[in-house]
Subunit: 428 residues, 2 copies
Amino acid sequence: MKVIKYPQRDAWPELIRRPAIDHRQLSVVVENILSDVQRDGDRALSTYTLKFDGIALDDFLVAESEYLNADIYVSQELKDALDIAKANIEKFHVMDVTPRSVIETSPGVTCWKRKLPIEKVGLYVPAGSAPLFSTVLMLAIPARLAGCSEIVMCSPSGVDGFVNPVTLYAARLCGVTSVFKIGGAQAIAAMAFGTETVPQVHKIFGPGNQYVTEAKLQVMRTGTAIDMPAGPSEVAVLADDTCLASFVAADLLSQAEHGTDSQVLLVTDSDDVISDVLSEIERQIDLLPRREIALSALANSKAILVESIQTGLDLLNEYAAEHLILAVADADAIAEQVTNAGSVFIGNFSCESAGDYASGTNHTLPTNGAARAYSGVSVESFTKTITYQTVSREGISDLGPVIETMAAAEGLDAHRNAVSIRRASETR
Amino acid sequence: MKVIKYPQRDAWPELIRRPAIDHRQLSVVVENILSDVQRDGDRALSTYTLKFDGIALDDFLVAESEYLNADIYVSQELKDALDIAKANIEKFHVMDVTPRSVIETSPGVTCWKRKLPIEKVGLYVPAGSAPLFSTVLMLAIPARLAGCSEIVMCSPSGVDGFVNPVTLYAARLCGVTSVFKIGGAQAIAAMAFGTETVPQVHKIFGPGNQYVTEAKLQVMRTGTAIDMPAGPSEVAVLADDTCLASFVAADLLSQAEHGTDSQVLLVTDSDDVISDVLSEIERQIDLLPRREIALSALANSKAILVESIQTGLDLLNEYAAEHLILAVADADAIAEQVTNAGSVFIGNFSCESAGDYASGTNHTLPTNGAARAYSGVSVESFTKTITYQTVSREGISDLGPVIETMAAAEGLDAHRNAVSIRRASETR
């Protein structure tokens, strides 16, 4: 980790800058994949799956026998763990389900809104270096709670032509409608446009590499919604001398093992915390199977010494971390002052791993500073809101003149006339 | 209007298809504007404002004197109308403000979420053929209710170098922080990147032409959020023989006068309704100042005769109209069956104009079929949600094994270790 001591405030923007991705070349590659899939459907999917994943596949839909094999493969211990995680995630996410509220804004003018499920949704679950079955729980559970009628999932198969069995088991457990063995930008294209076998969906969710993210951004143009633009995963820890260096080191490493591009940040008001955490990292890292990945992520990571925890909090509010761990004395009070973060972990025993898997909160969170404007995935992400109004004869008589005055001032006479013709009809 | 009778269900996709925009050329033009503004700031804004709007401007910030002039210009009648509209919009939108709810998902594991304002937001208010000051109300009121600390607005000035006075009056009335005389893609660029005078914002809202929409989609790549991709405005009316043809005609015309690309759709189970509405349109259209625009929009519009109101509803659920008017006998019951729409107007006296200006609901709504996955603007659009968790020593002891099992199964040992190290510390 790079250690930076007492940076000036005008150096903050540089300090909190994430690595920029040059999307131009990426953009052309992805544009071609999208148009090929849109034009050639399944045939293009076969071509790209062979090209990028080295697998010859004609049939992408996961068969019933594969779910049965998955069920045999997954240990009872893991099944029990998944059940508990699922129950906790459901308990937390069901809080989103809100009753409709109706208001009479003006006599005879009644307005309300209703959250309805997005009918068809697509979940992308990457495979790559680790089988991320926890992502299935985090996307499919809120989709089900929202009431989505079709939940399509794409995940690349291994070289054996099979999707990871735990991923499949989790998909079935959480009510995914169908799983397709497709990865990368071509998976996003398949769900956005639909092919002979893959159904077209209205919104696409899930993490992925920069090709997947670029594809998600591009399909927005043709009307498919997305959860958020994803970037490399991040953790920031705000620590004072009440923290436990071994815990902080473990949390930083759990982020660093995700990928070489993971963003790891330690902010503290104590020089001792920095040196203790750094030596703990050295001790713990040697025991990790993913040591090389973690080492490489840490090379780009920063430990920042600040004058006070308040200054550290200001810096982190500007940074807007995906995960923010508060390992400080008055963590509860500090948590109230957080203005930008994806998910906040309060106190020494609240590790990011808890939220990653089983505490109940969602782990699909805004990265790359997006937490300034985006939220993590929730049941709401799988719904859209429709507004309704009933205006009675009395209502239009009463509010009509206001509408007529405004429409006239905007020079929209037909808008005014739609009111006038109704008001005039009263007198009949 | 084109009249289509009893279309087969397999002809629906073609029938509800909106005109496609070829974004490729557009994309390059906008990309250049964005990179110029990002590099040259205010200087680029001056160049583009001269080039596209024909106005030489060095200072884009609206001065205090211009607000004073606006205050003198706007009639008392219009001020009163704006006050009533504002009060209704506030009454409806304040319903979004939700209290925090806390849940203990597992013993010692407490999770909650909190909606916080997006700190800096940008509103784009087009000028063009009509001064759309109502859009100021629809964007600034929820921004204020959400608690955004900086509300920046861009709107192009007229050839006289001044922003429409009613737009300015509304901006001040609704608590906009600062207004800049900038239009088009360059306005989106200015708010996304910030310039010497325009503050950078985290999320950009508001309608606009295809350059504005393309610019909004492009700035998402560099981390700015947007409300939704906007397209031409739309209304669909579902009518049976209980409708009043003159009302329906007035509603269709109020949409048609927006622009030549407005989408207008009449769906009915009655041949008489089609002929009555068409003759009412002929009668009413001649009285409209914006007759030519309306005529041209109607040329691309469709009146569709269906077997039953239920079939019509199915068709309209696939269409996902921005505005959906239900002028049918059992409108309340039909409204409950709507699955895709931006805003629904129930019964003969509920005209779209009411929602456009003053009933309380928002008029910034998903167009172009986006209502399948997007919602209209609300207070929620100006907030993001942060999730929080506190895990106690007891909590990690209890839930820890579940997390460890799942982390191990994903091959993420450092994730597991972050739990194990905490569980082990108990025994000390």
